[in-house]
Amino acid sequence: MDISTIILTAGVIGGIAAICASALAVAAHCFAVEENPKIGELEKRLPGINCGACGYAGCSDYAKAIVTEDEAIDRCAPGGSDVLEALGEATGAAVDAFEKTVALVHCAGDVDNARHRHSYNGIMDCHAAHQLAGGDMTCSYGCLGYGSCAHVCPVDAIEIKNNLAIVHPDLCIGCKACVTSCPRNIISMVPASQKIHVLCSSKDKGPIAKKACKVACIGCRICAKLDESAFSMDGFLAKRNYSNQVSNPAVIEKCPGKCIVAVGVDNTQADQKGEPSCA
């Protein structure tokens, strides 16, 4: 091949590149969209995983909302106190103490504990199972175990073990995606500092709840009597009051339904099933 052909080709390609580059440079200068530089600065401080926990489409959208709509800076759950402080530093807003929250499935009815009233052969999706006569479990409140929550978890913090969803609190980033995915509405966010929980959502009367599941709240009120500040009754179901710590750990022993459980301490909920903690 002639050397001049190579030079000519390189020249033409280089020429086109030069023309395009200068056109782009002119366009970038003339059509530049003015953006508040603060938005970019805040976006850099956010985790960038676009989980949606803040209620916005992603980190960039949230950063924009903080600048343009005066949105609160404490909405980034996965970021924790580090991001909160970083955002406070950048915006000059007051920073409160950050309370980390994690998801918790308020049910302990796995395949050994909860009774099933019929077999389900449909799609492996909790919504589909729930649609068919309210699910295949005798208890109409408990976890169905088909993993709709595990499916939406961005960090795989939810494990389905023996037909029960278990959230690993140390992996949970608090994005709340699982909370809205549950057709039974039994997943809620709890403070990570709280370790003792009521793992039952059955509002049925004691005998009915007990018949449906071995680890059901029977509404006996023992926990509310032992520790008034941390437990209260909602009909036939014990509720944890998360603004107070449990002062009397004897409630775990005394609960006849065995549905008050310490989760995530040295014996995590997962550990109880013989599973090593994921920490």
């Binding site: 009233r117 449909g122 999706d125 919504h127 589909a128 649609q131 068919l132 006569a133 309210g134 109409s140």
Partner: protein, 453 residues
Amino acid sequence: MRVTRALRKLRGSIHPQYFKGLTSDCPITEMPIPQKLYLSMSQHLGAPAKPIVAKGDVVTRGQCIAEATGYISVPIHAPVCGKIVDIDSAATPAGTMAPRVVLETDPDNTESTTMSPLSDWQDRPQEELITRISEAGVAGMGGAGFPTHVKLSPPSDKPIDTIIINGAECEPYLTADHRLMIEHSKGIADGIRMMCYILNVKSVFVAIEENKPEAIQAMQDALANAEKIDATVCILPTEYPQGAEKQQIAVTTGREVPSGGLPMDVGCVVENVGTVLAIAEAIEKGIPLTQRVTTVTGHIVKSPQNVLAPLGTTYADLVSFCGGLTAEAAKVISGGPMMGMAQPNLDVATTKTTSGLVLLEQSRVHIYRALPCIGCGRCLEACPMNLVPAAISYAVEGGDYDRAESLNILDCIECGCCAFVCPSSRPLVQHFKLAKPKIILKSRQAADAKGAK
């Protein structure tokens, strides 16, 4: 009175095994009143009825025990005399939870409260008859349970020129409508005349599939000397899902209901034969809708038959009336096997829409493992609504409901033809049933949010 054939072949259809011979020759038998009736408050489409009786109340036959809670809702009446022993909440055959009234029956007491018969209905205003139909709690008895008075009062900008009486009964196993047309053809013909009067329409099609020759003959005889109306018995080929209203309109009149539209958009009203009979009873005799014919069938039922049972009869009572089972039932389906819902147990009770109870033994229940789509396109050919089930199913599986919506998932009539023909045993219609309520809810929320702003 004319007899015609279907104008055209149904687009996309299947031919399942019908098994109608099990019960098609069994006359309708009235069942003795069971000890307890469990009356769900959600027997129809729309808002559930609200109980107006309290625990301990004594009610008589035909007394209204629950009132309608809106325009698209109907009241519920006591099928027999008895005492209300409980008001609780339970799953309906459709699988949703709804309030329920438990009635302990008193079979010896034959007292009844009926509304005054309107035998001179031809001289009364149409509005009065529509009010009567609504007060009698008449809802579509074909399966969906749409309140009949709503269908009979179309808005003034949607003129109705054709009534179609649906006697296709294309679901396998079911023969309730078939027997109803043979044994109550006169009542149905009366009901047809009343509907024509209410809607001020002359043209009526009675659509019956050709596998029911006795029913075709009976309806021809009943309509032979019908005056003032232009009745046509339309003989359809035997195809599923020809009983779906949009498909039925297409094969009898050639009209196509637009996407997202209703039969009234093309000037049609479609009513099931059972509903037409209920209209006649409500107007001519003043009897509210408190009983219906249910086909109790399956190869393991000792004597499968068409049972006339009061609403709220448990499936267990129906099965024991039919002599019990010869083998353990592996699957119990309320409705037909194509569109019916599997039931968790036999404690569920009949409603206004329970057209059949199909009990299947283990050897007839196949549990398939879903395999990936092989792109064969059979579901496209089978879909009577011209949808692309394979693509919609993938969108639903991946959680992309916006894409499913853009592929017109909301036009799906849930007939199940796609899943029936799929060689990869994919749960196609099951995916659509899962996604449709979510999409409807989402669009309703979006509309509410828009309204709030």
